[in-house]
């Protein structure tokens, strides 16, 4: 991962905007931001962003690569799409934030302990394993993310919810064993491997 980061820094030296345009989903829109701030004001988690979207856009143009990519900010996106529908220039802001978070994660620069980054990774691995989400495995995995002791404490704090879900038939206690997922798991895995290869090639991530 570190090697890709070095390669990208070399290739796009002093031009972070060009790097974002080339490698970040919908990054070509960044230059269109007119700094009105409607996105920042519309974000439900606005106050939790160290740098709200409007600032992120300006920082990209100012070449503040490390500050942007190492930021917790993009990880605050709840995917509510408020910014997208309100942006007067119709920038796909939600997708750009997702793209930046994904890029930072790929380069190994995203904050290691950010809970959404960790949960998102766990979520994708969960859903791709069988093609469908295994909810019990996902929730137990989330509680025990930081080890056994913390896991027990978290599970205990959440026990009322868990019991409620079990009692109402909305959680499968045997899901670890009985979850089936898709029939064509092999095909899905091959397909995803190919997709990743193509994307890495296009974005210059391939070795």
């Amino acid at each position: 991962m570190g090697d890709i980061n070095t390669a990208m820094t070399e290739q796009y030296r002093n031009n972070f905007l060009k790097e974002v345009e080339a490698n970040v989903e919908e990054g070509q829109w960044v230059k269109m931001c007119m700094q009105c701030g409607v996105c920042s004001g519309s974000c439900p988690l606005g106050p939790a962003w160290e740098h709200p979207p409007q600032e992120i856009f300006m920082m990209i143009r100012a070449g503040r690569r490390d500050e942007v990519l190492k930021s917790e900010s993009m990880w605050m996106c709840t995917s509510c799409y408020n910014c997208i529908v309100r942006c007067p220039r119709e920038l796909p802001i939600t997708h750009i934030m997702h793209g930046l978070a994904n890029y930072a994660h790929r380069l190994g620069l995203a904050p290691k302990m950010n809970p959404t980054r960790r949960f998102a990774k766990m979520f994708w691995n969960n859903l791709t394993k069988s093609g469908r989400v295994n909810e019990i495995e996902l929730s137990v995995g989330l509680y025990f993310m930081d080890g056994f002791k913390t896991g027990i404490a978290r599970a205990w704090a959440m026990k009322d919810i868990g019991i409620g879900m079990l009692k109402t038939g909305r959680l499968n206690p045997f899901g670890f064993v009985t979850h089936k997922g898709c029939k064509d798991k092999k095909g899905i895995h091959k397909m995803l491997k190919k997709a990743r290869e193509i994307e890495d090639r296009r974005k210059g991530f391939a070795a």
Partner: protein, 304 residues
């Protein structure tokens, strides 16, 4: 033959013993009464949902959605794809839009799709629609009202539309800031909608309810508080994540904030199923963690 037929994308949370299995149960009851047939896309997979982007990236996410759509094109020919889950709908529709405008991405998607079984190729032939769209646009409020045999009179509902059923696509003719369709559906079944529910399109935190519980629960508190402030007996929503977040964290919010929240949160389809004469079980009401006694009473009564 049924009046309408659709290619159905149920999604992970609709399976038996999952978080929105009660939604699915009620959708089945509702569609049966409306004579709408849902043909499940065989071997459908997850859409990637709203946080799949972080590890999945761009192309793998689109490929996952394209696989469902390609199977649908092959098996459920000539039918529109319908999703009941907001995230499934959004993910699939986003992929359809993106592949329609980017031929390069489309070619890459099909290159990856060839690796999967079933000899798939995505062509982009079918529309991707939300169940609510289908109800309103293909059937219309008048038709939807016809099977009503019980009125939900006397129950006041806060119509919580949330995010992803509403943005970025939304339902045609509705505004992003104050969509009215959920209130209209409530009125249609005889209930009373909260006219000025100011948290109607507020975000519940989505997937961040798991990873950033404090921040998310602050959002959920606003959504519930406003429902109480406006005298609502219940909250109604079209989204599985909204339903779960707003219902199941009430106990935790009470602990955190000293509130006494205990308000039922149902799906529009549960309201409709009950109004159409379904039993509490057929309407999935046994799936509510916070029971909805008034809906259960009506469901138990004989139809007029």
């Amino acid at each position: 033959m049924a009046r309408k037929e659709y290619s159905f994308y149920p999604g992970c949370s609709s399976e038996r013993l999952t978080s929105a299995s009660n939604y699915m149960v009620s959708v089945e009851a509702m569609c049966k009464k409306l004579d709408v047939q849902l043909n499940e896309i065989p071997d459908w997979n997850c859409c990637g949902a709203s946080i799949g982007y972080a590890e999945g990236g761009e192309l793998p996410r689109h490929v996952m959605n394209a696989r469902n759509l390609a199977i649908s094109e092959q098996v459920n020919k000539g039918q529109d794809v319908v999703a009941t889950c907001a995230a499934c709908w959004l993910g699939a529709k986003e992929t359809k839009d993106r592949l329609a405008e980017d031929k390069g991405l489309l070619a890459e998607t099909n290159e990856a799709l060839r690796e999967a079984g079933m000899n798939l190729q995505y062509k982009g032939e079918q529309e991707v629609r939300h169940m609510v769209e289908v109800l309103i646009e293909d059937l219309g409020y008048d038709e939807l009202k016809k099977p009503v045999v019980k009125s939900l009179e006397g129950i006041k509902f806060a119509g919580y539309v949330g995010c992803q059923t509403n943005r970025p696509f939304g339902i045609a003719g509705e505004s992003f800031e104050n969509p009215k369709y959920l209130d209209k559906l409530v009125e249609m079944v005889g209930g009373e909608p909260v006219e000025k529910y100011d948290q109607k399109v507020t975000c519940c935190g989505g997937a961040l309810a798991f990873s950033e519980p404090e921040k998310s629960q602050a959002q959920i508190k606003k959504i519930i508080e406003s429902a109480y402030d406006h005298g609502a007996d219940m909250i109604v929503t079209p989204c599985p994540v909204c339903q779960m977040n707003v219902e199941v964290y009430q106990g935790q919010i009470n602990k955190r904030y000293g509130t006494k929240f205990n308000i039922p949160v149902a799906y529009y389809s549960q309201l409709m199923a009950v109004a159409y004469g379904a039993s509490a079980k057929e309407a999935g009401l046994n799936g509510q963690i916070i029971r909805a006694p008034r809906l259960e009473e009506i469901a138990a009564k004989a139809a007029r």
